[in-house]
């Protein structure tokens, strides 16, 4: 995280700085280009105006006459009228004259390219000899030529002239018969753009001339610029100079490409101190932001890590606990399963092992009962023993059934069972076996209620419930049996009068071998309810105790309803 932030800050710093530098250069470049293009436009206007003058001049018979008829002395007087507007006008300020078509001087060149001196130079602009000589061209050009000259002469400060040489074509032959050379004050770059501190000048004749810089101040820049121009040979370029101590961005552009006059360059000098200061400031800002970010990131990461790690640690602890729990549960499960298997096997084995001796015992007792040589009390005893063997057989069969269910071996061959009929039958039997207790039986059984199940097990459930209702009843009590269909279930409710099951015992009554101690007088082996519930659940239903209070105990069994014709293939 820290590394990422540090790297990002570094990158941000690098790119931002590069961006700023590039932006500064771009905006300066744009400034320069717009200045230069403004210059170009002015120059074009000036050139076009001059070209028009010269075209008109070439149409003048007097000019032709002066040039062609060997009357050079009459050339300037003849041209004077035509070019009057070039030289006329009040003395303008430097700035005004720089932007106008007001010429400082003009001269004609003869067919050899030499300057034709005017007889009255004061009327056509005074020039020192050196400057006048510099106007000459090696050959007469076919197109306009732009040049820049430095007039030193006897002036205190050298001035720069922009020279435009315009060929004059003979209207007869189309040949160049002369060249008009007009000298102007050079256009000055505005320098009041968005970027202050810009200085502009002209590099000509191997030297840089900047109006606002003295020659000695311009000298170091001059040397470097001259060197760069000589080396690069490009028409325009820019570079950063440290010649004057402070960094400066220099743009230069050739003012007179392809000219017969010596090359001249427009030069703009932009101080970079401001932009570098800005870069420094930005570096600090971004660096500061990076550090803040780093600190922020550090704290944020710590906070987040803490937030994140708490649940993870908890999770780790929990999972360790869970693992422990699971291990224990698994162990318990294994042992339980083992135990269950063992106990199931044991129950099954035991049941089988018990069945045979009980049968033998019962057969023996029945054999004894068939004899007639015993005293009556012996028969009574034998009869009681036989009864016990029946009980024993019931217990064994219940156990067998339960053990098969526990082992998952009991499969229900589900068919449609007429529960109404089954309940009626058992109620009838109950009435017959009431042992003179005078139990009142109430029934509310709709005639055709069918459930899905195997008849003997369904019968066992019903039998268990009804027998219990009889067993745990009081003398002269009642049994109510009602059945109804609820959605997909058939609900059979069996209630009986008699002492209620103690609340503390109520939740245990479905456990195996549980018998309410208060009702121990009643015969039973504590498997019936358990068996009935297991069977009900096996049939997709359930058995529960609805209530047991005061003089009423009520059980409810739910079984899956079925239609008489419909057989359920199998329930497991």
């Amino acid at each position: 995280m820290m590394v990422v932030v540090a790297v990002m800050t570094g990158l941000g710093l690098y790119f931002a700085q590069r961006n700023v530098a590039a932006n500064v250069e771009r905006s300066l470049q744009q400034d320069f280009q717009s200045q230069v293009s403004a210059l170009d436009r002015l120059q074009e206007l000036r050139n076009a105006a001059l070209a028009e003058h010269c075209r008109a001049l070439a149409l003048k018979p007097r000019i032709h006459a002066a040039l062609e008829d060997n009357a050079r002395d009459l050339l300037y007087p003849s041209a004077k009228d035509e070019l009057r507007d070039l030289m006329e006008g009040d003395e303008l300020t430097t700035e005004q004259s720089a932007q106008s078509l007001h010429a400082r001087f003009y001269r004609f060149l003869d067919e050899a390219g030499s300057v034709l001196p005017p007889s009255k130079p004061e009327e056509f602009g005074q020039l020192d000899e050196q400057t006048e000589a510099a106007l000459a061209l090696r050959q007469l050009p076919q197109t306009q030529q732009i040049g820049y000259l430095v007039e030193t002469g006897n002036r205190s400060e050298p001035i720069i002239d922009e020279i435009i040489a315009v060929p004059i074509f003979s209207s007869d032959t189309g040949e160049v018969i002369s060249v008009l050379v007009v000298g102007f004050k050079p256009f000055q770059l505005a320098g009041n753009g968005t970027l202050s501190g810009m200085k502009s000048g002209i590099w000509v004749g191997g030297h840089l001339h900047v109006a606002s810089l003295s020659d000695s101040a311009a000298a170091p820049l001059d040397a470097e610029l001259s060197n760069v121009i000589a080396k690069s040979g490009r028409a325009q370029n820019n570079f950063i100079s440290h010649a004057t101590g402070a960094p400066e961005l220099l743009f230069y552009k050739r003012l007179n490409p392809d000219s017969l006059f010596p090359p001249a360059y427009e030069v703009c000098i932009y101080p970079l101190a401001g932009s570098i200061e800005r870069q420094h400031r930005l570096r600090w800002q971004i660096g500061g932001a990076g550090i803040l970010l780093l600190l922020g990131g550090f704290f944020a990461s710590h906070f987040t890590a803490a937030r994140l790690s708490a649940p993870v640690e908890k999770l780790a602890i929990d999972s360790e606990m869970n693992r422990e729990h699971r291990r224990r549960a698994e162990a318990a499960l294994v042992s339980t399963s083992e135990e269950l298997k063992r106990s199931t096997r044991y129950s099954a084995d035991a049941s089988h092992q018990l069945k045979t001796p009980v049968t033998v015992l019962r057969a023996g007792l029945e054999g004894l009962l068939a004899r007639e040589d015993f005293k009556p009390e012996v028969y009574e005893e034998l009869s009681a023993l036989l009864h016990q063997t029946h009980r024993l057989t019931g217990v064994i069969e219940d156990l067998l059934l339960l053990s098969r269910m526990d082992a998952g071996h009991l499969r229900i061959d589900a068919k449609s069972v007429n529960l109404s009929h089954l309940v009626e039958q058992w109620l009838d039997d109950l009435g017959a076996l009431s042992d003179g207790q005078n139990t009142k039986i109430e029934r509310q059984i709709p005639s055709e209620l069918y459930v899905a199940g195997e008849e003997r097990y369904t019968s066992l459930i019903v039998q268990n419930l009804l027998e219990n209702a009889q067993k745990y009843n009081r003398p002269g009590g009642w049994i109510r049996a009602s059945a109804r269909q609820e959605n997909e279930h058939v609900v059979l409710t069996v209630s009986n009068s008699g002492p209620p099951i103690r609340p503390s015992a109520q939740k245990h009554i479905f456990e195996r071998f549980h018998r309410d101690s208060t009702r121990s007088a009643v015969s039973g082996h504590g498997l019936g309810l358990n068996l009935a519930r297991e069977l009900a659940r096996l049939h997709g239903g359930d058995l529960r105790l609805l209530r047991s209070e005061n003089d009423s105990t009520e059980f409810e069994v739910r079984l899956l309803a079925n239609r008489p014709s419909q057989d359920r293939s199998s329930l497991s």
Partner: protein
Amino acid sequence: MELPKSHSAPVVAKRYEIVTVGGVLKTSPPVGIVYLEGSFPKPSALPKKEVAQKDLAFLPSLLPVQVGTRVEFPNLDDTYHNIFSYSPVKRFDLGRYRPEERPIPSVVFDKPGLVTLRCEIHEHMRGLILVIDTPNFTLTDADGRFRLSGLPSGRYTLKAWIDSKTTRQQSVELKNGAVARVDFP
């Protein structure tokens, strides 16, 4: 006399114009001037000559005159003309004038040499006046033929002006009553 080959058919009406080729003025179709240089007695009065402006052209466009001849420049067009010359031989400027200008503007050519006539208003107009110091001169025809008659006997220089840059010359000896035949190459 051999003249430069003309590219146009000879014009019977003797109309020819001045053309400039490479700074050289000549007539088209080419016409030359042949004149005899020598010391001849000056006549007391010379006849006036005329170079008119008609249809924005000088008529004739090439005129030989003896030194001291007055040449009038009548304007036969319906517009202004302004005839002038910057030629060193005779500089003059007649100013603008209309056809009805009287007296007819004129100039006395008092020095020998070639004078280029121009119009300040119609810059294409060119005319030539060859001022020569002899009464004996003639124009050739378009084929370069010429004839000078009534010449005094003696040794003279016969010159042939062909264009503004070309003048040829030969020495001739004239005998009384005889016809001399001179060919310029």
